[in-house]
């Protein structure tokens, strides 16, 4: 896979914006949850924004993304509207899924976002079917499936890799190894190196610093090239870290700590993907403080507007459940 391509300044600024939007949207959702404003729970990907941003920068609406219970970042990076995300999580009719899915199920098929998934690992077979559709379409489109280190222990990963390798499906596996599955440190429930599991299928593997958005972007550039040219699947293992709780306010139910405050603090301080990119841009004199602040502000405004949009939204009609269950038509 070619590796020399790296994002130019304007691409870097786009990545920065995407990460800011994810960050602000999720901080908002965290606050909302704490305030008792959300109908359901949320799993935030704060600290992991670089993976979503770097991967999805290379995708178009024709490409599909299949996501996880921690899927806000994937949704936003893939072009989903912040207002549709927020309204959805607020349980409003104006949400991307008309308030039917919520955080666990955000989807916008018009943008190729084929759904977050509440069943850990289940996005993998769904994505395999989407990649088969890409393959049959034969138009250079591809599918990306995001999944966690914990999800890697679902057997469907092996099953899917076998399909993708055999049929040379245009499918990118992105394992977001954030070092925990719920309250279990990865190594306590996961043997070996996750991405090694792809090697038995002769699937090319890349391991990348998932907090370095430029590195993710660069790795993805090569992977997307490979996949779009019909050479079959690629597996990227992105090392990152979940700074926030598994779900918000988990301490209300989880009494024994599964990691130290210091560890989290250190990651927050030293490995924030937004800070890392901004510092690099400044060090390299590619962007000054003002430029970054403007992007920050734009993102904040976008999220504020999204929140206003969500707040102004209406609860769906009572009887929509059965209405949306079936389409009732035939071809």
């Amino acid at each position: 896979m070619s590796k020399n391509l790296s994002p130019d300044v304007s691409e870097c600024l786009e990545l920065l914006k995407t990460m800011y939007v994810i960050r602000y949207a999720e901080e908002q959702l965290g606050d909302d949850f704490a305030a008792g404003k959300l109908p359901g729970g949320v799993h935030l990907s704060i600290g992991q924004e670089a993976v979503s941003a770097g991967i999805c920068a290379h995708l178009t609406d024709r490409d599909k993304v299949s996501s996880t219970h921690r899927g806000h970042g994937h949704f936003l990076a893939k072009g989903g509207e912040p207002k549709h995300l927020i309204a959805e999580i607020y349980g409003k009719e104006e949400g991307c899924c008309r308030g039917m899915g919520g955080s666990l199920h955000v989807a916008d098929y018009s943008k190729g976002i084929i759904g977050a998934n509440g069943i850990v690992g289940a996005g993998i077979p769904v994505a395999t079917g989407a990649a088969l559709a890409n393959h049959l379409d034969d138009d250079g489109s591809m599918t990306v499936v995001f999944f966690g280190d914990g999800a890697s222990n679902q057997g469907v990963l092996q099953e899917s890799m076998n399909f993708a390798a055999l049929w040379k499906l245009p499918l990118l596996y992105v394992c977001e190894n954030n070092q925990f599955g719920q309250f279990s440190p990865t190594a306590t429930v996961t043997a070996g190196v996750i991405s090694d599991r792809a090697k038995a299928f002769d699937i090319p593997v890349e391991v990348v610093d998932g907090n370095d958005v430029r590195a993710v972007w660069q790795t993805m550039a090569g992977a997307a090239d490979h996949i779009r040219s019909g050479k079959g699947p690629v597996f990227i293992e992105a090392h990152t870290y979940r700074i926030r709780n598994h779900f918000e306010r988990e301490h209300l139910v989880i009494k024994t700590p599964y990691r130290t405050e210091e560890e989290v603090e250190k990651m927050r301080r030293e490995r924030d993907p937004i800070e890392m990119l901004q510092e690099w841009l400044k060090d390299e004199n590619l962007a000054d403080e003002a430029t970054c602040q403007a992007i920050d502000k734009d993102a904040k405004t976008l999220v504020d507007e999204a929140v206003a949009f969500g707040d102004a939204g209406t609860p769906p009609p009572l009887d929509v459940g059965e209405k949306y269950q079936f389409v009732g038509t035939s071809s």
Partner: protein, 328 residues
């Protein structure tokens, strides 16, 4: 009309729909070789792009069905034995049955899954379940259970054209059975039961694999002076409550025959619907003839003991007939 084998009717339905719409493709384990014959010849006709032999990975097969359907194709998954639906259950119960609802109606899910079900052939417990009842409770999938070649063809064509997911339950081991199938193109509507016989004394309601014995029982009862109305339910979800209740009400005496196990069976459900909606017309207990609540043994007589049969249907009918016994 042409006399056609059950399996051939299924095969014809798939072939016709693949001709009609190039988005239809078939996949599953050995769909090329086709153990049951229902997908035989399709690979030769449509090529390996649209007829895809797969690895043995049921969880991924059902999940892929969702992904391919949500992305513009019309997958037909052949899962072989219906027990293997349990092996790939997440894709059906948590994904296929829910993806449209969860998306707020953004997508259509034109997916069909074909599964061969039922016992009575010494296939032992893991190859002989009748699991449609469990799937009835999922809420998000249509279920069709044909009892004859004509309905099999018509229902499968409707299933493949449906923009909603349909599980097509094929009565196992009936592939060789013949039936008249119309020469011209036709569809059998999903959600419509059929009254296949008139009779004023008693209503027999059944579906799929137990229809034949139900009709035999009706014949036997007729010889003995009890005329039965017989309903072939054909679709378990959505359920044609109107036709079922009307038929139940016409006689006030109902026996429901179903190969699945007794507890939370299709038969139990139909009985509940009749007991709720047609109560005032009922003249006798609503009887169910189902499999007993156990797995099926290999040993043929022990297996048969657990399954519905003509004698059990006749006995149930007689029990609730006007005099509580056979007319002399």
């Amino acid at each position: 009309m042409a006399r056609t084998r059950f399996i051939q009717a299924i095969n014809d339905a798939i072939r016709e729909e693949m001709e009609r719409d190039e988005k239809v493709f078939v996949f599953g384990e050995d769909v090329e070789a086709s153990i049951f014959g229902d997908t035989a010849g399709l690979a030769e006709r449509f090529g390996k792009r649209r007829v895809r032999n797969t690895p043995i990975s049921e969880n991924t097969l059902t999940g892929m069905t969702v992904g391919a359907a949500a992305c513009g194709y019309r997958p037909v998954l052949h899962i072989m034995f219906a027990n293997f639906l349990f092996t790939g259950m997440d894709g059906v119960a948590n994904q296929l049955a829910k993806a449209r609802l969860m998306s707020g109606g953004q997508i259509e899910l034109p997916a069909t899954i074909i599964a061969s079900y039922g016992g009575g052939r010494a296939n032992a417990a893991q190859h002989s379940d009748t699991p449609y009842s469990a799937f009835m409770n999922l809420g998000g999938v249509h279920l069709v259970v044909p009892s004859n070649p004509a309905d099999a063809k018509g229902l499968l064509k409707s299933a493949i054209r449906s923009n909603d997911p349909v599980l097509f339950f094929e009565p196992g081991g009936r592939g060789g059975e013949m039936g008249d199938v119309p020469d011209e193109e036709y569809l059998t509507p999903i959600g419509k039961a059929a009254v296949v016989r008139q009779g004023g004394d008693l209503t027999l309601i059944s579906m799929g694999s137990t229809m034949r014995m139900t009709i035999q029982a009706a014949d036997q009862l007729a010889e003995q002076g009890l005329e039965c109305e017989v309903v072939d339910v054909r679709t378990l979800a959505p359920l044609d409550e109107e036709t079922i209740c009307a038929a139940a009400e016409r006689t006030g005496r109902v026996v429901i025959v179903d190969e699945s196990r007794e507890r939370a069976s299709a038969a139990s459900h139909i009985a509940a619907v009749v007991a709720e909606k047609s109560f005032g017309h009922m003249k006798a207990p609503i009887r169910r003839v189902t499999a007993r609540n156990a797995g099926l043994p290999l040993a043929p007589a022990s297996e048969q003991y657990l399954l519905p049969n003509v004698d059990k249907i006749v006995a149930a009918a007689v029990e609730i007939s006007e005099n509580g016994r056979l007319p002399a």
